[in-house]
Every structure is written in C-alpha cells, then in structure tokens.
Symmetry: C2
Subunit: 420 residues, 2 copies
C-alpha cells in the first residue's frame, strides 16, 4: 500500500470530506489534516450562536465520519506552509508531510480588511468557538443589563449590532430578534428583553445581495416584522469599545457580530501563485493551481472564474464545496487511469436562507419563493445534509420543541474553566 | 411587595433551586444569585467529560427554571463577602444586596489540600467548564498519541490517571475505559486506543468507601473487567508535569483527573462561625449558623452533624441538598407564621453509581444490589430528576444510541475562540 499515490487533504469541511469519501474507495493512500477534531456543519452555526442548538449537535469527529476507509488516516494539525516544489507540507509543530496530490480546502476566516484589531470587538462566525463566544456575549449582555443601575448602560447593553447583510448576517439578526421577543421575554424582572434593539448594517444598497432583488425585499420585510432595524448603504467606518460608527451614526453597543467579509487562509500565500483580492488562488478549470496539476484548491478558499454565471468567483456555499470535493477525487482517478480531466462544472441548485419562525427565502432556478414554503424547504435540506444520524434526530427534536414552546434549548454561558 | 421579607439565595444548585421553588409560592421576595447562568445537573457531569453528552443537555438557565415565580428575581453575580451583622452581601463588582433571610448553597470546589498548584495539572469535575476541559484533555491525548513518533511519549499520552476512588472517580475511570475500548477503538491508524492504560488511585483501602464493603468489592471487579487498573492504599504524593508519583510508583502520564477532595467556598469564611476541616460551617439542627437563625448553609457547603447515621457530616449528595433546600423554605414559613422550627431530618433513600455498560451498584436501605438492576435504577432516577423536558428526551435518546452503537455523541474538542 505504501507505493500507492499519497493524497493529502487539508481541511475537513464540506469539500475535504466529500473528496475523502471518494478517495477512500480508490487505490490511493489518503491523509486528512485539520486543526479541529470535528467537521462543523457551518450552515447551522448561527443557531449555536443564538442558543437554539448545542455545539455537539452540529459537529461530528472527522475520525468517526471517515472511520470506514482503511486507506485513510486523520491527523489533528495546523498546516503552516506548502512547498510545491518539494511536494511537502509543514505543520506548526515542525512535522513535514510529503504528498503526491494535495487538496487544499482550508476555508476562510472573517476579515476586517485593514483593521484586524476589530476582531476582539466584533467576533465573526466561522467555527464552533466563534459561535460559543457570540452566544456568551449575547446572553451576558442581557444578564448585565438586568443588573445595571444606569439607563445609558442598559440601552448600550440591549443594543445588538450585526455588521453585514448577507445570509449569515440576516440569519443572526433574525435569530437575536426572535430570542429577545420570545425565549427571553419573561425571564427578567428589571428589564424587558423585548425592548432590545437589533440593528443590521449593510454597506451595499440591499440585504442578501446574492439573491434576486424581490427576495432581498422580502427578507428585509421579514426582518422588519421581527423588529430588526435594517440599515442599508451603511458602511461601518469605525468600531470602538462600546460603540459602532456607521454612516455618520454613533451607535452605543456592547455586542457586535461581524458578518461582513472573508479572507482566505494565509497558508495559500505560500503556494506562490496569483491570488485575488480576498487572498484566494485563482484556479484553473480543473480546480488546480497554475503549473501544479497535483495541487487543488477547493471551496471558498479558491477563486474559480470559469463559470459563465459567476464570472468573478463561485459563491462560498456548501454545494460548491461538496461538488468540487467530489470533482477533485474524480480528477485524480482520471489521472491514475491516464485519462483526461474534464473541467469542473458547478450544478447550481439555488440558495436558501431563513429569517425566523416560518419565514424563509429560496432562489431555486426560476422559482423565487418567500415565506413558509421556503422555510420548510430549508429545514428539510439542512436535516438531510447534517452529518450524523443522532444529530439529525436531536436537531429535529430541538426545532420541534422550539417551534412549539418558543424556547431555546442551549442558553448556556460557558467560558474557560480557569475563569470559573 | 417591597415590605415582604427579602430572602437571598446564593447558588442555583440542587439546594438553592428547591428552596427557590418553595419560596416562590410564599409571601416573600426572593433573589437568587449565581456565578453561572445555568443550573448544572452535577451527577451527569462525568458524562460530559467523557463525551457521552453535550454540555447543554445537563444544564438549564436558572432564569427559565424559575420564570413562573413573579416574586423571584435572578442575578448573575459572584458573591465575595457576607456581613452577617449588617445582613448584607457584597458582589465582586462592588454591589451590595441586603437580606432578611440568607440561604447559602454555594457548593464545593475540588481541593488540592496544601498544593493548589496541582490544579493546573489535574483538573477536577465540578462545573461544565471543568467537564469540557477534561474532555478536551482526554480526546487530545489520543490525537497527540496518533501523531507521536516516540514510543515513550505514546505510552505517556495513553496513560490516564484518575485520583480518588469515590463515586466520581469510579464513574470517570469506568467511562474513559469504555470509550477507549469501544467508541475510539477503530478510529485511529497508528495507535490502538484499546492499549491505553486507565489507572484509578485511591488513598484508602477500598473504592467507594461510602458504600457497604461488598459493593466496593463489586465495583472494583466491574472496573477490572473494563480494564481499569485499580490501586488502593495509593496516596498521591506528588504531581509533576508528565508524571504522577504514588506509593513509590512514578507513573508517566499527560492526563490526570482529580476526584480526591473537596473544599467549601472561601465565601463561608466571611461568616465568622466555626468551620470544619474542609471549610464548612458547622450548622445547627435547623441548618442555620450559630447565632444567626436567619442564615442557612445548605448542601455540601455545610457540615451537618445532627444525624445519628452520619455523625461527622451528611454526605455531599443531591438528595441531602434538595431536602435541605425545601427544609429551609419551610423553616422560613414557620417563622412567618410564628411557629417553631422542627429540626432538619435527612430521609436517606440510599445511593447509586454506575461503572459502565450494564454495570451499577446500589445501596438502598437493606438492599445491596450490583449489576444490571442497579444500572437500570440509576438510569431511571437520573432521567427523572434531570431538569428540563427536552433534556430528558435528548439524554434518553443519546443513551439509547450509545448503548446500541457503542458510540459517544459529544466527541468535540473546543477551546477559547482566541486560540483558534
């Protein structure tokens, strides 16, 4: 088995897992490297951040997902450098891993453009740790407001600002608006959580810019019905402790969630190939990097510009990543059989988002749907793709309980044990 | 309502919640203060630490548990001092709360006797944060062993030491032994998790010293069948990074769990009343402190010495805490009606512990039971007393899945988001 080609996959997200599952049945050796021990179902992260689900309910150990493939091993490790000439990777602890094929799918982190110091003031939402930190901040703000003697401080604590009007920002703002109206409504004595202000700041002219204009409008109306103050054309010009400054407004707040921009992993800079403005390698039609057919970059870490519908870049969504993961495995299979690689083609099945109880938007081919039907479609698709049988059952059960009781089942504030 | 007596409860554990529920129906004002926003079902903490359950599944916000009582408010806060003369409490942020009655039920922390520096090397298991830290260490040890090139390091990483042979130590050791044999067995390529060593070190002559000797023996046999190396009369004399020294042995290990001793909250020292060796106030027959009938100390924070069966101290278990919580509320009710307080009497229904799949021990009055029946009784009682309808359903479901598949549903390593 050691003379089989060695395929190294970096990242156990949607792209990496799909590639691994296909490669697990091929005559290759596979090594999967990830910084986390678990795959995270990112589309439901905002539900962990807003106390609807527990962290473990949307995650599963990469090891146990890939257990059935004997040609595949999983390493917990942080890749710091790729040496494309030597065909090797370096890990943070100094270990070196050689590859014949490399599949890079490290995902993205939120980006603060030229202001990295904003991260401490406004966490983003990409990992389980991010989600738990946002949940902690949101729930603690209500707790601190309950104890505050100053009405200015109370107002500041009860103002929640979400920066960025894409699907993540819309989902987070909708969910905070819902918990303050329902789950928390009767739990406090000195404040009324329903008085809390939820602001969604979008720099462009409309929310959900990747959707058709009529669905942007529907989404905005749904948000308004939930009591979210939606402000478009409102770029954030400054973040300070205790305040957001946007379009001339100074908004006193203690809780800011950042959903406004992404940057690719710094690891990709070590490839030495042209990157786009977000730091993503501009890949070939077969998802490989120029000059190195053996190195693939997949998912939202790549700038794929060969789709006529998306000439700038394919969207950073799970279906693109999953299709590219399977594609990369097929391209390697073609190489092994000495066949030609067929260029990658994205089969676009549309996009879906939810705004709150019974409210969703769906953009599926010619169908632009808003409301209950889109919400039901979203539930069905997310349960279907969620990894792990037990997780599917538990998430369905939690959603049913939340729907019936208006409660949220994961209202837990945790921190490092040393702080206890 | 402001002329009603003000009862302040410190601690939302079993004692505090039971007191609150009874006081919530009485003509008093109640304030519940806790450092955490949630009640933790401590008897199942070891299942969070060993990846069987998610943190949120054994916890519920204190606010939502007590929502129905309009005379009761909940504060998130850390009480640092009691001034019994002024009848007031001081919180860490300087706030002062006055009381007419005070119910102190702050619980205990694990204690390292004269060696507080051992805490960083060997975390205990009292809070959700503790459990997540132990889970992180246990799972990371397997991950690091998988990547290690040195056989000495691999041995050290695959040695798990549990210090203390009481119920917590026995349950943790049994659960680690089980996951290494079943849930993790087929997930690694370079190590065999079944080779991992699990050691239980007990300073005294037998494990489960609070149980009848025959059940101690049964528990030891169950542990041995699971492959736990049980060493009695083995006091830990030193803890160092990378090793435990006990009864002359030097045991190289990276993962130590401390279940060997408790100390009461330092808050109790500010009462100015006699404490026992573990820092617990020696309370009167009505659970109040000498000279202050309006101050109760309950649960494992108190040394109650008026029970002929337990002349030294009542055991630090949930039934004692719950009965004392209800008792304190009744004592206050008696005062309000100008009646005499009846001394507290513990109704001892026995004790139960599990060691692993289908293995439990139960000491219930004249019945000393070991095996499947004790295990089933344990499951029934723990589901019955777990707080929250949704938690009961999810925990039952997770146990059923674990039983059928040998899997563990919460194998998540998380840390502070800044570390990501």
């Amino acid at each position: 088995m050691t003379d089989r080609p060695h395929v190294v996959i970096v990242g156990g997200g949607f792209a990496g897992l799909e590639a691994a599952k296909k490669l697990g049945r091929m005559p290759v050796r596979v090594t999967m490297v990830d910084r986390a021990n678990h795959h995270t179902f990112q589309p439901l992260l905002y539900q962990v951040a807003t106390a609807a689900l527990n962290a473990g309910e949307i995650a599963k150990p990469i090891r146990s997902v890939l257990r059935r493939y004997p040609n595949l091993s999983v390493l917990l490790g942080n890749v710091t450098r790729v040496d494309v000439a030597a065909r090797s990777l370096e890990l943070a602890d100094g270990a070196v891993v050689h590859y014949d094929y490399l599949i890079l799918a490290p995902g993205v982190r939120h980006s603060y453009f030229t202001r990295p110091e904003w991260e401490a003031l406004a966490p983003g939402l990409k990992t389980i740790e991010d989600a738990l930190e946002i949940r902690r901040r949101v729930l603690l703000a209500f707790e601190r407001a309950e104890r505050s003697e100053s009405s200015d401080e109370r107002h500041r604590l009860l103002t929640f600002v979400v920066v960025g009007g894409g699907p993540t920002g819309v989902e987070v703002a909708g969910a905070i608006a819902e918990i303050r109206r329902y789950a928390l409504a009767r739990d406090f004595r000195h404040i009324d959580p329903r008085d809390a202000t939820v602001l969604l700041l979008e720099g462009g002219p409309r929310v959900m810019p990747s959707y058709p204009a009529e669905l942007s409008q529907k989404a905005k109306e749904s948000l308004r019905r939930l009591g979210v103050d939606v402000r478009t054309d409102s770029m954030v010009t400054s973040l300070e402790p205790g305040a957001v400054i946007s379009a001339g407004w100074t908004i006193p707040t203690e809780t800011v969630v950042w959903a406004a921009g992404n940057a690719a992993s710094p690891l990709l800079q070590t490839l030495g190939v042209p990157l786009d403005g977000a730091g993503r390698p501009i890949v070939e039609a077969d998802c490989s990097i120029p000059g190195h057919r053996e190195v693939f970059v997949l998912g939202d870490a790549a700038a794929f510009r060969h789709d006529p519908k998306y000439p700038v870049v394919l969207p950073g969504v799970a279906p693109v990543a999953m299709q590219q993961g399977r594609y990369a495995a097929r391209a390697i299979a073609a190489d092994l059989r000495k066949q030609e690689r067929i260029p990658f083609k994205y089969v676009d099945k549309g996009q879906l988002a939810v705004i709150g109880r019974g409210q969703g938007v769906a953009d599926i081919g010619p169908f632009h749907i808003a409301g209950l039907l889109a919400w039901l479609a979203w539930i069905f698709i997310h349960i279907l793709y969620l990894i792990g049988f037990a997780n599917r059952i538990v998430v369905m059960f939690r959603w049913a309980v939340s729907y019936l009781t208006f409660e949220r089942g994961a209202r837990l504030i945790t921190r490092e044990w040393k702080a206890g």
